[in-house]
């Protein structure tokens, strides 16, 4: 029914306007203000390049972009290599317990990266469990702190993404493609490179992009184990929140550079994937290849070891949350002491987190479903622009969004700083892309004629949307909501800027506890966070089955 759009100012016209106003007010305007602020000098005067010149001439500043690019590039390479290798092993070779491996990879995604960083400190930090045990034998491990540690955390945190994306892509390759290449005389290695790799390349690059953008944006990991290593987000935070009086202009300059780097990466991948996307029809999935029992055993051990490493962070957190602790030191034994402490100390943060996350997810789903319908069914230039703007939210680091929101909404008539609303706004706008993506993808698979059939049978378009379209979109709505929920509940990078006094969230509380060396309470809070992220994913699985839940 795309033709019926724009005919009159109907309900969908209002949705378009509302979506635009929302995105403009909460994303475009704050980001534009950040960009604008990066061009201001003393006394709000316009300066063309002062801040940028300062950035690129002072080592203190420019080292941050070098560190960030260096870490993100290496982390992306590492995650892509590990993730793709694991995907190939699981899809193409007869490993036992493939469903288990996939489930484990999914579970590894549940904890936010800064919690992963913290878990490695629990194990290998100065007072770490493993280090103390080894210390009794007089052994010493290389330090977990610094860029090596960050890299480890990033790769362990993000390779499961690549693994899930690439294995889904591999499972959509038809065996006939490989057979054809082999029958034409192409040896196996060349066949992989020339016939299979190009087909999975869009998914592989999508995974790489995700890792790159997420690691560029990550604020918590370098803060926790960077030991002063400056990255763009941490330096930006430091410049903005400075006890000696913040420097919004420099923070905005750093923010603008982050925006530029991430949107460039996003556009490069979109352009590539757009040109290289093939429609594959998979009737006969790729055959599992035969290997010798010895090789099979070796491959199995490696695959399980890799997945086990990915599960170390959440396992460590949950176990350590039940251990008696004093400061950063944990003792063997079982205790609920940490849980008692948090329910006594920060019940408000727990309540805040659940309230704000629930509200943000509900809003995301509500607007996401409507916007997805517009994007899929009423496509126009206006909607293409809306699509691009919403995807922008996906690319912009939380630190930048946080600074933007503060700069714009810190004075009347719209004073949001200091309230819970500003946290809600940030959560809502940053995670809106998830339901929009899952629902748009789903709508593209639902035949428009089903809706037209309903209309022709006498049900007006909007009631058709409620009675036919929404029920058919249900799986996508559910998985979009689960993804939004998972990513919102542990959100740190904008929360740390936007929270105030009573409106701290669990992520903020964990971060503060880690910095005050209260590892027990940090673990208990993080365990609750992981469990809370797990429940919706688990339910989605139960309702939809594995494949549909990973529809993203």
């Amino acid at each position: 029914m795309p033709e019926m759009a724009g005919r009159r100012r109907d309900f969908w016209w209002s949705v378009t306007v509302l979506a635009f106003l929302t995105v403009l007010a909460f994303l475009v305007y704050p980001l534009a203000t950040v960009l604008g602020t990066s061009f201001t000098g003393e006394g709000n005067r316009f300066v063309l390049a002062d801040n940028y010149q300062r950035f690129f001439t002072h080592r203190y500043y420019y080292s941050s972009i070098i560190n960030s690019l260096y870490l993100s590039t290496l982390a992306t390479l590492g995650a892509v290599l590990v993730g793709t290798a694991l995907a190939l092993a699981v899809v193409r070779y007869p490993l036992p317990g493939k469903t288990f491996l996939r489930t484990a990879a999914n579970l590894a995604l549940l904890s936010p990266p800064f919690i992963g960083a913290y878990s490695w400190v629990v194990l290998f930090g100065r007072m770490g469990l493993v280090n103390r045990i080894l210390g009794t034998f007089g052994w010493e491990l290389p330090t977990i702190y610094g860029w090596r540690g960050i890299l480890l955390v990033f790769i362990v945190q993000y390779f499961p993404f690549v693994f899930l994306l690439v294995s889904a892509a591999l499972r959509s390759v038809d065996q006939s493609i490989e057979d054809a290449a082999l029958s034409l005389g192409s040896p196996p290695r060349r066949t992989f490179r020339t016939a299979i790799l190009p087909v999975i390349a869009p998914s592989l690059t999508a995974g790489a992009l995700l890792v790159f953008m997420a690691t560029m944006a990550d604020f918590g990991t370098p803060m926790i184990i960077g030991e002063g290593l400056r990255t763009l987000p941490t330096l930006m935070y430091g410049e903005f929140i400075n006890e000696l009086g913040g420097n919004p202009a420099m923070a905005s300059t750093l923010g603008s550079i982050l925006i530029l780097v991430n949107t460039t990466a996003l556009m490069a991948q979109r352009y590539y994937a757009f040109r290289k996307a093939y429609n594959v029809v998979c009737i006969q999935p790729l055959k599992v290849q035969r290997i010798s029992p010895g090789n099979r055993a070796v491959l199995t051990v490696i695959a399980y070891a890799v997945v086990a490493v990915a599960l170390i962070p959440s396992t460590t957190i949950i176990i350590s949350s039940f251990m008696p602790t004093r400061g950063p030191v944990m003792y063997a034994g079982f205790s609920l002491q940490s849980y008692q402490t948090i329910f006594h100390l920060v019940p408000r943060a727990i309540a805040n987190t659940f309230m704000l996350t629930t509200m943000a997810v509900l809003l995301d789903v509500l607007l996401g479903v409507l916007v997805a319908y517009l994007l899929a069914r009423r496509r126009s230039h206006v909607h293409a622009l809306l699509d691009a703007l919403i995807m922008l939210a996906y690319a912009i680091p939380g630190t930048v969004v946080g600074v933007g929101l503060i700069v714009v909404y810190n004075r009347p008539p719209v004073l949001l700083t200091g309230t819970w609303i500003i946290l809600l706004v940030s959560y809502f706008i940053r995670h809106l892309p998830y339901p929009v993506r899952t629902c748009t993808a789903m709508l593209q698979q639902i035949d428009v004629r089903v809706e037209e059939a309903s209309v022709s049978l006498g049900v007006p378009p909007f009631r058709t949307f409620l009675k036919v379209t929404i029920p058919l979109m249900f799986p996508a709505i559910l998985s979009g909501a689960a993804l939004s929920w998972m990513t919102t509940i542990g959100e740190l990078s904008s929360s740390i800027l936007l929270y105030s006094g009573p409106w701290a969230t669990m992520a903020v509380a964990i971060f503060t506890e880690v910095f005050s060396n209260h590892f027990g309470t940090a673990s208990a809070l993080a365990s609750i966070l992981i469990a809370a992220a797990f429940v919706p994913l688990f339910l989605t699985y139960r309702v939809l089955g594995e494949r549909a839940a990973l529809g993203m």
């Binding site: 004629r449 089903v450 059939a453 022709s456 049978l457 006498g458 049900v459």
Partner: protein, 364 residues
């Protein structure tokens, strides 16, 4: 019963003219088929009649009612789509009841009507099933029942058989035809398959590039195609070029000198010296030993270049002259009608079986 009148419909998509001023008059109770190659505008026209698309100009009338400003959900038409458009989240019964519920019919009436409709399309016993448990043919029957049970003024069908295999296609085609006759419901049927169009229709309209080229009974289109496109699209036609010599030996006939030298008597009009295209169906050509020299018969000679023996039919390709080939189909061929590549044959056809195809002379 509804008479559908379409007048001067124009529809543009961007710069392309999808429908270029189409007018139609569909008689009450008939099965009217729009046939044409893909992209000819037939589905667009159907969607305009359904109200799913809005025309740029022109009117659609059901009997005396102008439908142009009536939204699709108030037009009371049944639509059957190519890929079923079944509601996958509803049972067969709920699918059939969908339109009745929208009409706020009491539940017991709905139950009766659903049972009736299911019986009509031979789906009794499957009412509680989900669509995913049905075969393609069964799904299409659900959709048919769903469209019929609302007692629509008009039934619109957009390539309803194209997703079915050959055997089911014939079955469902027969079912559609039977139901349509029994219920005497005006039906507009869209297909790209000329054979399907011939088999099912009361009236056929041939469309190309947004225009209607010819409207008529199936046999009228086949035997007297109005132009080269219709001649080629409906069945196979040998088209040969010649020049009018003068009036023929019988009224309504012309004497024509063909480009390859033969002199023929054909059923056509024209002025002496004018170029003319002559169409002959492959099955009109006969192999009569020795031939028949009366003025009612025309002859042509050719060399066999290809033989396809199909049992009931043997199909020959013959080279008549440099760059000029004809196809001949000999039905029920006996041993005497079997020839080999390279044989030189004389083919005959009755003068009344050659049609002049106007307008396109000189264009291959």
């Amino acid at each position: 019963m509804t008479r559908v009148r379409v007048e001067g419909i124009v529809k543009r998509f961007g710069d392309t003219l999808a429908i270029d001023g189409v007018s139609l008059d569909v008689s009450p109770g008939e099965l009217f088929t729009l046939v044409g190659p893909s992209g000819c505008g037939k589905t667009t026209l159907l969607r305009i009649i359904a109200g799913l698309l809005e025309q740029d100009a022109g009117t659609v009338r059901f009997n005396e009612d102008r439908m142009d400003d009536v939204p699709p959900y108030l037009r009371n038409i049944g639509v059957v789509f190519q890929n079923y458009a079944i509601f996958p989240h509803l049972t067969v019964g709920e699918n059939i009841a969908y339109g009745l519920k929208a009409r706020r019919m009491p539940p017991d009436r709905i139950a009766t009507k659903v049972a009736e409709a299911a019986k009509l399309v031979q789906l009794e016993g499957l009412v509680a099933r989900m669509p995913a448990q049905l075969s393609g043919g069964q799904q299409q029957r659900v959709v048919l029942a769903r469209a019929l049970t609302i007692e629509p003024r008009l039934l619109l069908m957009d390539e309803p058989l194209s997703n079915l295999d050959a055997k089911l296609r014939v079955q469902i085609r027969a079912l559609i035809r039977t139901l349509q006759r029994e219920l005497r419901i005006t039906t507009i049927y869209v297909t790209h398959d000329q054979e399907e169009a011939l088999a099912i229709s009361d009236t056929i309209a041939v469309m190309d590039r947004g225009r209607i080229l010819q409207v008529g009974k199936p046999w009228e289109l086949y035997l007297r195609p109005g132009n080269r496109f219709v001649a080629d699209f409906i069945g196979t036609m040998n088209v040969l070029l010649g020049r009018v010599e003068g009036p023929g030996q019988a009224p309504g006939r012309l004497s024509v000198v063909m480009d390859f030298g033969e002199r023929w008597q054909v059923q056509a009009t024209g002025t002496p010296g004018q170029p003319i295209s002559i169409g002959i169906r492959p099955e009109s050509l006969q192999l009569l030993p020795g031939g028949n020299g009366t003025e009612a018969w025309n002859a042509l000679q050719g060399t066999v270049t290809e033989v396809v023996y199909l049992g009931p039919v043997v199909r020959y390709q013959l080279r008549v002259a440099e760059e000029i080939d004809v196809t001949a189909e000999i039905h029920n061929p006996d041993f005497s009608a079997i020839h080999a590549v390279g044989d030189r044959l004389t083919l005959w056809f009755a003068a009344g079986r050659a049609v002049g195809l106007p307008g396109e002379a000189g264009r291959a």
